[in-house]
């Protein structure tokens, strides 16, 4: 796997100095962009095409905190143990109840949906805070492996929440209107 941190010569950390990253991306783009090779031979052109695609991919990945987070886990070879991932039970139950209510009493379901939405957001921000503090733990170099594994589990929960939120939005739009 290509180490994007190495490409830009920045420390392998969750925290990235974005203006420094951008500066380095610009520097390398000046050297490798196809515009610098367009009057040269096919081989040089192709090489610059491949190199610049990689630079673009690396920059895009490291610039976005979410992409960066999952990339760093992959780079460190951490895979989440799905058996250990935690699903917020009370939220799942509330969702089942809400779905029943949609069938029985759409208007009441509509009212309740507001507080359900808030509940989802509360879970999201809780996960985010936890991930942030684990990221700091990793960056400062204490119990790095454990921090990464915990982050992996939280990301699982997060993606579960995202799909629940998607279902919820879709259902409220289609069935209660």
């Amino acid at each position: 796997m290509v180490d994007y941190f190495q490409i830009f010569n920045i420390p392998r950390k969750f925290f990235v100095d974005l203006s420094d990253l951008e500066k380095k991306f610009y520097e390398q783009s000046r050297l490798y962009h196809p515009d610098r090779f367009s009057t040269l031979g096919a081989e040089a052109k192709q090489a610059s095409l491949e190199k610049m695609s990689e630079l673009n991919q690396a920059f895009t990945t490291l610039k976005n905190p979410e992409f960066r987070c999952s990339y760093l886990l992959k780079l460190e070879g951490v895979v989440s143990d799905t058996k250990k991932s935690q699903i917020p039970l009370e939220l799942t139950e509330a969702w089942f109840e809400l779905q029943e209510l949609i069938l029985e009493d759409p208007r009441k379901a509509q009212e309740k949906s507001m507080s359900f939405e808030k509940e989802i957001q509360k879970h999201f921000s809780k996960i985010k805070t936890e991930i942030n503090s684990l990221e700091k733990e990793y960056d400062t170099g204490t119990l790095q492996k454990i921090a990464l594994e915990k982050i992996a589990l939280l990301l699982d929960t997060q993606s579960y929440l995202k799909s629940l939120e998607r279902d919820f939005t879709r259902k409220m739009k289609h069935e209660v209107s």
Binding site: P34, S38, T60
Partner: protein
């Protein structure tokens, strides 16, 4: 084609085209053979000669049947796509093999051929102005042009005898010309409304780097649509007084009448950008139409059309992750941005003063020349980092699209996907590449279909890795590699609505001036 000599920048527009070149560090528009800066994108096929530019534009009414204009609206598109607008044109547009052909005097021309004639005129003009052969060019396209439209533009360039070094996005080109003058830094929006297309691009300018953050647009929205709105009103008014069907008794008259109305509408638009009221007169056969039109009335017709530029702007801001308040400047590009009403709509979108200091007709060509200078290696200070306007994906089970490269990804970029077989001894895998933002395959543009040849093995054993690469022109290239045997295979992606390289080569041999005769197409 020469590997040395000047590289020119070309704006191949819906209404007008220009060629520009950088000399002593600053770009200038080269004058045409007719001694003007603009070459109207019009080609007239008369009995003994083919005219391009102002000379062709003069034939637009009398020889309506033989004069092709606004062909950029047809470039790289299917007949299916254009069905609802073909009746607006005053020349014959026919479906053929999925694409459209233009029929003039018993001969059929592809849109690429006609575009090539316009480019050829620019080539000859540039050669005359510079006093040497000109074989290489940067050609601009609307940022929101899809893969087929870009390929078609590149094919037209090759057919005109150019080595096309870059297909460049128009708003990006404009930003380059704008930033060059002022050495500006910050976030800018380029609002580019042309004759047939609308683009919005958001760029970050910093230290000579022009980084496109997002782009959006509508490739069927432009000044021509404002003209058409006027045409419809005038036509209705005439219809109330005259038996139009009787008067327009043949195709020729009907096309002449159409061309006449379009001409009147175009002139009205220009007149009303300078004064508040203008007198419109039409004398055609026994039709006599005369009345005053006010700017207010025109604006009322234009408003709903221009409202359509709003959603793309909001989406582009959102995709760039900024709000209009973050913008340091809004640069207006394209002829129609001279209109009050266009500026009014743009101000409503961005809530700020607009920068109208750039020459709206010339800025794109000037920017293309600057990019040509960069490619020539003369300018190491500046660099453009552009994006792909539309998401690229492949069709998956159930007619859905699986996105491989999201819109606004920086280019060049690539994505890899591994394919396998579902049936024993299957010898090929079908791949359908799509471009667009919809979930369902049918609602997106089909870019290419191709078959990967695979070893006949048990189902699921085959593993072929396909690399989808979008180059710096925003054009797709495909490579396939069998992961079991390690063999690479060339994948020929036949453009859905364009010409293959082989077809272009054949046409180059055949010669541009000799159009293919009707019926002899596939001989």
């Amino acid at each position: 084609m020469s590997a040395v000599g000047p590289i020119v920048g070309i704006d191949l527009g819906t209404t007008n085209s220009l060629v520009a070149y950088v000399e002593k560090g600053s770009p200038r528009v080269l004058s045409s053979r007719e001694g003007r800066s603009l070459v109207p994108s019009v080609v007239a096929f008369l009995d003994h000669e083919t005219k391009v530019g102002f000379a062709a534009k003069q034939e637009k009414i009398e020889n309506a049947n033989r004069t092709a204009y606004s062909v950029k609206r047809l470039l790289g598109r299917s007949y299916e796509d254009l069905k609802s607008v073909v009746s607006q044109f005053s020349y014959d547009i026919l479906p053929e093999d999925g694409v459209v052909k233009i029929r003039i005097g018993g001969k059929k021309y592809s849109v690429i051929e006609i575009s090539a004639l316009i480019l050829k005129e620019l080539k000859v003009s540039a050669e005359k102005a510079l006093g040497c052969g000109v074989g290489r060019a940067v050609i601009t396209v609307p940022a929101y042009f899809n893969d087929s439209q870009r390929q078609a533009t590149r094919a037209a360039g090759r057919l005109a005898g150019f080595e096309v070094l870059r297909i460049l996005n128009e708003p990006t080109a404009a930003a380059l010309a704008y930033g060059l003058d002022r050495k500006k830094e910050g976030l800018i929006a380029v609002y580019d409304l042309g004759g047939g297309t609308f683009d919005i691009s958001i760029l970050k300018l910093q230290n000579g780097i022009f980084e496109v953050l997002s782009t959006n647009g509508n490739t069927s929205l432009g000044g021509d649509d404002l003209d058409q709105a006027v045409v419809r009103v005038i036509q209705n008014e005439i219809q109330k007084q005259y038996p139009l069907q009787e008067i327009l008794r043949n195709q020729n008259l009907s096309n002449q009448f159409k061309a006449n109305l379009i001409d009147v509408a175009e002139n009205m638009k220009i007149a009303l950008s300078e004064k508040k009221i203008t007198l419109i007169k039409i004398d055609f056969e026994n039709i006599h139409y005369e009345r005053e039109w006010s700017r207010e009335e025109f604006n009322t017709l234009a408003r709903p059309i221009l409202e359509k530029t709003k959603a793309p702007c909001f989406q582009a801001l959102k995709d760039a992750g900024i709000t209009e308040a973050d913008l340091t400047d809004v640069v207006m590009v394209g002829g129609p941005t001279r209109l009050d009403i266009v500026q009014e709509v743009a101000r409503e979108i961005f809530n700020k003063n607009l920068n109208t200091s750039m020459h709206p007709d010339e800025v794109v060509a000037l920017g293309a020349a600057v990019q040509a200078d960069i490619l020539a290696g003369n300018n190491r200070e500046l660099l453009l980092l552009d994006v792909v306007p539309l998401s690229l994906g492949i069709e998956t089970y159930g007619g859905l699209v699986s996105c491989l490269i999201p819109r606004n990804s920086k280019i060049p970029c690539s994505a890899r996907e591994t394919f396998t077989t579902f049936v024993n001894n299957q010898t090929s895998v079908d791949i359908h590449v799509l471009q667009g933002e919809r979930e369902s395959a049918l609602e997106n543009r089909s870019l290419a279909r191709f078959k990967l040849r695979v070893e006949p093995l048990s189902a699921g054993l085959v593993r072929v890795e396909v690399q989808f690469l979008i180059d710096a022109d925003g054009i797709l290239q495909v490579y396939a590699k069998d992961l079991i045997t390690g063999l690479e295979q060339a994948v020929e992606v036949k453009p859905s609505y364009g010409l293959t390289d082989a077809e272009i080569e054949r046409m180059l041999l055949f010669g541009l001036e000799k159009p293919v005769k009707e019926g002899a197409q596939n001989a």
